[in-house]
Assembly symmetry: C2
Homo-oligomer: 239 residues x 2
């Protein structure tokens, strides 16, 4: 009897935005694993901290800071070997995933390495996408809107082409790409239709008009939502 690998969506940051299912599995698992920077605290571990009963084996999957674009595969090789050892010994392993495990999450690197050998269950979570819309108090998509999620590392032409073909867009993974994206939205005349939020639902959440954002200080956990139809879009729900 092997253990089950759980990919637990723990939500966007507010510890109260975890689901009952993720909470139950989180508390029951003998082994927890969570992503963390090379040194210092794990965001995911911090989100669930109020919920942990104590006494669980915990495994930090630490990612070198130098790897920005794609994760160091050897980090996941080692983590998969360690988690695989617990699973082979019959112990369930719960991997904490900020937001949702299958929405731009690092869980898929473990999933890709372990899913053929062990049973896996993915528990969906509240993603940053809808958390940002809720924080902004602005509908994300309605009726027959096309909604496009665009990673900021793509080049300007690719982003502009997607923005031209959508009603609403979410631009994520901003971080060091933030200054270029802010400039691009200005160039495309979309600044007035863009809303900025960082660390949605966390205690440190900030919402700013795009013009008030310091582009050089945009963190990775920030998102820009663009509504191509602007204010007319919000108004149409009223009648």
């Amino acid at each position: 009897m092997t253990g089950t690998l759980y990919g637990l969506g723990i939500g966007p940051g507010d510890p109260e935005l975890i689901t009952l299912k993720a909470l139950r599995l989180l508390r029951a698992a003998p082994v927890l694993a969570w992503p963390a920077p090379e040194t210092g605290d794990s965001l995911a571990r911090g989100i669930v901290a109020p919920h942990l009963p104590g006494g669980q084996t915990e495994i930090a999957i630490r990612m070198p800071l130098t790897v920005e674009r794609f994760p160091a595969q050897n980090v996941y090789d080692r983590a998969a070997a360690e988690l695989g050892g617990h699973l082979a010994a019959g112990r369930d392993v719960a991997v904490l995933c900020e937001g949702d495990p299958f929405f731009y999450g690092s869980f898929m690197y473990l999933f890709g390495r372990l899913a053929e050998r062990f049973p896996v269950e993915v528990v969906p979570g509240v993603s940053s996408l809808t958390a940002c819309a809720a924080a902004l108090g602005h509908p994300l998509a309605a009726r027959n809107d096309v909604l496009t999620v665009i990673p900021a590392p793509l080049d300007d032409d690719a982003i502009a082409a997607r923005l031209a073909q959508t009603d609403a867009a979410a631009i994520l993974k901003l971080g060091r790409h933030g200054p270029r994206i802010v400039t691009l939205l200005q160039k495309l005349g979309l600044s007035d239709r863009a809303q900025y939020v960082e660390r949605a639902t966390m205690a440190t959440q900030r919402i700013l008009p795009l013009a008030a954002v310091d582009p050089a200080a945009i963190p990775y956990f920030a998102m820009i939502l663009v509504h191509r139809r602007g204010e007319a879009h919000a108004m149409e729900f009223e009648s």
Copy 2:
């Protein structure tokens, strides 16, 4: 002192996929409102049924079956007037929203009518988008993938244009548009890269290869996920 209007994301169907926050507000609200068909049971009411303490005022917002494309605005006018009466009298009102309130939800019609007069809080929920990916056991989007959400009522040319410009797509609101979408995906050579799921996370969940789907029997609560890079996409997480 007026009451607060809560838009509560209650998740995609499994009652255990509600968040702690939505559950707390759901139980505390003196007045609940939920969408329902013209006759018969409400899906949203059914999702939260196991969690209700009893003794709350409940308001069904019943939508005539004849209105398929856009909701009858007079239904929302009347509902907003009724909810507004409770809010003006100082009673909090919690509106149950399947999935997430701002992700293609009918909540925005009430939001549009009441947000200027009363305080509103939107609690994000697990959307059908990530619930379907979890049910299928297939990552939705990773790394620098573009993800596009496409409502099935759009015409074939509009859908084909969006599919041509994305790495992953979710086609929703299928229902009576299902047969046309299945034919379109065949024509575009994307059938082998499409996965079908209906009523994700509900007791009646079904997952089928697209070729095995009866197009005439596709319900509204179904989704097709398309990964343009096919199996190569899943494999790349392994190394």
